[in-house]
Amino acid sequence: MIKTVLVILAFTTTGVVGAATPPELLKTYEAQSGKASSVRGEQFFNSKHGKEWSCASCHENPPNHDTKHIVTGKVIKPLAPVANPTRFTDDAKVEKWFKRNCNDVLGRECTAQEKADVLSWLMTVK
């Protein structure tokens, strides 16, 4: 119950629907799970999870520069907020890409804990 309230609060305090900041989104995911670990987040980002790709296959590590999609070669803008301030500022967009890319890399959706971990690590990337 408390978690639900926190989640609702986290989304409503962002003001405009959809608009957010990386720390706000991180709080939301932590509220749905537990405290984030950036160490775990980086490991998760680099891991292939028993399948073909990792997050780093397309975003590279550190993801602070333009990279290329592993299949199509299309340029992908940096994922780390430090290099691309528009990242993690729209909760609907963030959720859409977590859904798509977690299905691509893990073959399932990511948990709130995994999202929190990865985001907390991305926020530390210089």
């Binding site: 299949v71 199509t72 070669g73 299309k74 859409k96 798509r100 299905n103």
Partner: protein, 174 residues
């Protein structure tokens, strides 16, 4: 000039000489056919009324393909299965899916040459695509800067502007 069948020799005047008026008409006709062929084959700009969602939802992972490169049926099939989109999850919300699908279908290929139902819904598996690229060696497709036949811009330098003209091709060495 020898002319076995009169119907095939409309350009000739009755005395067998070339009629300058008819020759002019023929030249105009041939030139207009040539330029029309070029504009169809080489110029495939994205229609100006593309919804913003096409760029945001589709062109984040690959080039924004001109809708005229696939038939309406192929677009419909492809857009109905975005959860499994050539090995990736490209799902979009239902509202945008409808918006993009309708726009793609409205602007889909109509000329017979491009209007076949594409195998696997892939532009690169259509017979016209294969025929147009039959001189490209297998090794070229695998070069690091090419990666895939879906990466038009690797060789067609103006692909993003919808131009696939033969004069704008530069095949990368690596």
């Amino acid at each position: 000039m020898y002319c076995p069948r009169k119907s095939r020799c409309a350009i000739l005047a009755h005395d067998g000489e070339i009629d300058p008026m008819k020759l002019n008409q023929l030249i105009v006709l041939v030139l207009s056919l040539l330029s029309a062929g070029q504009s169809f084959g080489a110029k495939m700009a994205i229609p100006a009324d593309a919804p913003a969602s096409y760029d945001a939802e589709c062109a984040s992972c690959h080039m924004a393909y001109p809708p005229g490169l696939l038939s309406a049926k192929s677009w419909e099939n492809l857009m109905g299965n975005l959860g499994k989109h050539f090995g990736t999850d490209a799902s979009v919300d239902p509202k945008m899916q409808t918006e993009i699908t309708q726009w793609l279908i409205k602007n889909a290929a109509t000329r017979q040459k491009y209007a076949e139902v594409a195998p696997e819904n892939r532009i690169t598996k259509t017979s016209w695509f294969i025929r147009k690229h039959d001189e490209v060696r297998a090794e070229v497709w695998k070069r690091a800067s090419v990666k895939s036949p879906a990466n038009c811009g690797a060789c067609h330098t103006d692909a993003a502007k919808g131009s696939f003209s033969e004069s704008n091709i530069k095949i990368p060495a690596k």
